[in-house]
């Protein structure tokens, strides 16, 4: 009996040190998860978090490492941060994202600031231009295997991570796994999602002006805000940009995004099957959804050029010119544009005012956040 017990102790001890048929034991590494509290920006509610991926300090740390590490791409040349650069509100400044070997992707990289707030519980179409992902966790899985992005396969990537000097420890600390074999793509995606959920900021001059009215935005920006908002209670205006239909917000939830889908008149088509990029319709198979794309936030829009799902507009002035032209005809052109009574009659000055307001939504305060930057 004593011999058996001794053998058990020795074997248990050895398991911590040597690779086994089932990977390498990690139980000698402390697992002491500390809950991560997301600081909701002023004007935002507490963020809702999926119950199967609670935020921890070590989960965020692992996600941050994975986000910035090119190890996730087949040739280790690009990372998530290649297309989501912090100085551009986590976009890349390109019309369409560029993957490994210079491969050009299908669409424009989306901003990640406040991205966790785009999650609506029980809704299937929360993320990406075409809404094909319900959760950030689902989304994080895709770029690794997209041939136009990282063009890797998760089995290879997980082998790299299991045999890495650092990652087994980070996975253990983040998720309490006991063996490197338990490291999998789903945990990697959860960690990346945790990191993305901390990327929240709302300290633009618009926000400051809401906290202390009429101090931070100048007269032109305020005129632009009125045009953006349209027929505000008690402040009738003669012109209405109808912007706040799709870029909607409320006082305590200032997302500036409806996060629905619409055809904003980018392409002229006679029939719904003529769209080159079907957008939401590609995901749902519903013809009326063809040519509809996500109504994204206009927060930090001054940093995220070029614009639209295909990056066709280089400047905000071009964007405003597009909308004030009434958009291109299509059977499912958004009625917000098609019926807008005053949109086509904006003067040059009013367009400038609207652009000025959009720039007032720029927030660069997060650039000082060291915990958002690369850990390498």
């Amino acid at each position: 009996m004593y011999r058996l017990f001794f053998a058990y102790v020795v074997l248990s001890w050895c398991a911590c040190e040597i690779p086994t048929q089932n990977g390498t034991s990690l139980t000698h590494i402390d697992y002491d998860p500390v809950s991560y509290t997301i600081d909701a920006p002023e004007g935002f509610p507490p963020m809702e978090i999926p119950t199967d991926n609670p935020m921890t300090e070590d989960g965020v740390n692992l996600g941050r490492h994975l986000f910035y590490d090119p190890i996730l791409s087949r040739d280790s040349s690009i990372s998530c941060s290649s297309c989501h650069r912090i100085e551009k509100a986590f976009t890349d400044g390109l019309s369409k994202s560029v993957g490994i070997e210079g491969r050009v992707g299908r669409r424009n990289a989306m901003s990640l600031i406040n991205i966790g707030y785009s999650w609506v519980q029980n809704r299937p179409h929360n993320f990406m231009w075409d809404g094909r992902m319900a959760t950030l966790e689902d989304q994080a899985l895709e770029p690794i295997e997209d041939p136009n992005e990282m063009d890797a396969d998760w089995n290879t990537i997980m082998d790299r991570l299991r045999n890495h000097d650092l990652y087994p420890t980070l996975f253990r600390k983040a998720f309490g796994i006991e063996n490197t074999e338990e490291m999998d793509k789903f945990l990697a995606a959860k960690a990346i999602a945790q990191f993305e959920r901390i990327l929240n900021s709302a300290s633009s001059r618009y926000d400051e002006d809401r906290w202390t009215p009429f101090v931070y935005m100048n007269a032109q920006e305020l005129r632009g805000f009125q045009l953006f908002l349209g027929d505000a209670d008690g402040s009738p205006v003669t012109k209405d940009g109808e912007c706040a239909h799709c870029h909607s917000f409320s006082s305590g939830k200032a997302l500036f995004a409806r996060n629905g889908f619409s055809n904003n008149g980018l392409d002229s088509v006679g029939a719904l099957n003529e769209f080159i990029d079907l957008g939401l319709g590609e995901v749902t198979g519903v013809e009326q959804h063809n040519g509809q794309f996500r109504e994204v936030t206009v927060r930090n829009v001054g940093l995220t050029a070029p614009y639209m799902h295909d990056g066709r507009f280089n400047t905000l002035e071009e964007v405003i010119d597009h909308y004030t032209s009434g958009g291109h005809p299509a059977p499912n052109l958004a009625p917000e544009i098609a019926t807008a009574p005053s949109l086509r009659y904006f003067t040059a000055q009013e367009k400038e005012d609207l652009v000025a307001f959009l720039h007032a939504l720029t927030d660069t305060s997060y650039l000082s956040r060291d915990d958002w930057k690369s850990p390498f």
């Binding site: 809702e48 027929d231 239909h245 997302l255 009625p335 019926t339």
Partner: protein, 253 residues
């Protein structure tokens, strides 16, 4: 002694399971089915207009809030929910249109009720709240249902396309909002909540009533855009008429 203990424990186990597992509740499913001149209406389908101004029209969005769904009988009333969002827009196939948009309520105490009531739109007290006060599981928690310019939820959305007699085309968008627009509806109906069964309650939404109600008609060609407005203004009146027509379009099947 051991045998006695085992027997006792076994009896206790099965007895407790009986009490815990026995379902003593029933369920209620309330469906809203769009119909036009007596037939199912599939969203986005063109249908003949009933006035002389247009050849046809189609709906591309038809959504509205209801609040305070409550069942009543002579002695009691039970509240089913604070607010719901009736999303007819998703009924884009024949089958979906025939099935309707359905709200389901489980775990209801069996009883007989003789009336159901709800508010179409939102009452002023709920409309004074904001999306940050709710989870995104509630339609009240979504900024997409809120119009900041009026500090109000968007109580209803009616959008669509039109074709005129001269074959030219158009669009319409009528959103209602602001306080004072909601309409209370109640229906005297026998509603039995039965143990282990689902009771189905079906309401039709008569699309023709949205635009062609007697004394409350809306010409979506000439009044093709409204998202409320100052009380008394033309836009306000159209928005209010729109919500009123939605409320009146709801009829028991």
């Amino acid at each position: 002694m051991r045998l006695l203990l085992i027997t006792l424990i076994t009896l206790l186990f099965f007895n407790s399971c009986d009490k815990e597992c026995e379902n003593t509740t029933g369920a209620l499913a309330i469906s809203f089915k769009p119909i036009y001149t007596g037939s199912s209406y599939v969203m986005f389908d063109d249908v003949n207009a009933l006035n002389n101004d247009l050849i046809d029209f189609s709906l591309s969005r038809f959504e509205f809030f209801i609040q305070g769904l409550t069942l009543h009988n002579d002695n009691d009333s039970i509240s089913l929910s604070l607010a719901e969002y009736i999303d007819i827009t998703q009924l884009n196939t024949e089958q979906k249109a025939m099935d309707g948009f359905t709200l389901k309520y489980d775990s209801l105490t069996p009883a007989s009720y003789n009336q159901i009531s709800f508010t179409v739109g939102l009452t002023d007290d709920i409309n004074s709240t904001t999306p940050d006060q709710y989870s995104t599981q509630s339609p009240l928690g979504l900024v997409s249902n809120y119009w900041a310019g009026w500090n109000s939820y968007i109580l209803s959305k009616l959008e669509g396309n039109t074709t005129r007699n001269d074959t030219s085309t158009g669009s319409f968008l009528i959103h209602s909002g602001v306080n004072g627009m909601s309409v209370v509806r109640s229906f005297d109906l026998p509603i039995e909540i039965v143990i282990n069964e689902q009771t189905d309650l079906i309401f039709n939404l008569a699309i023709d009533s949205l635009f062609y109600s007697f004394n409350n008609a809306i010409n979506v060609d000439t009044s093709n855009m409204s998202h409320s407005g100052s009380p008394g203004s033309e836009a306000y009146n159209i928005a209010k008429k729109s919500l009123s027509n939605i409320a009146n379009s709801i009829l028991p099947n």
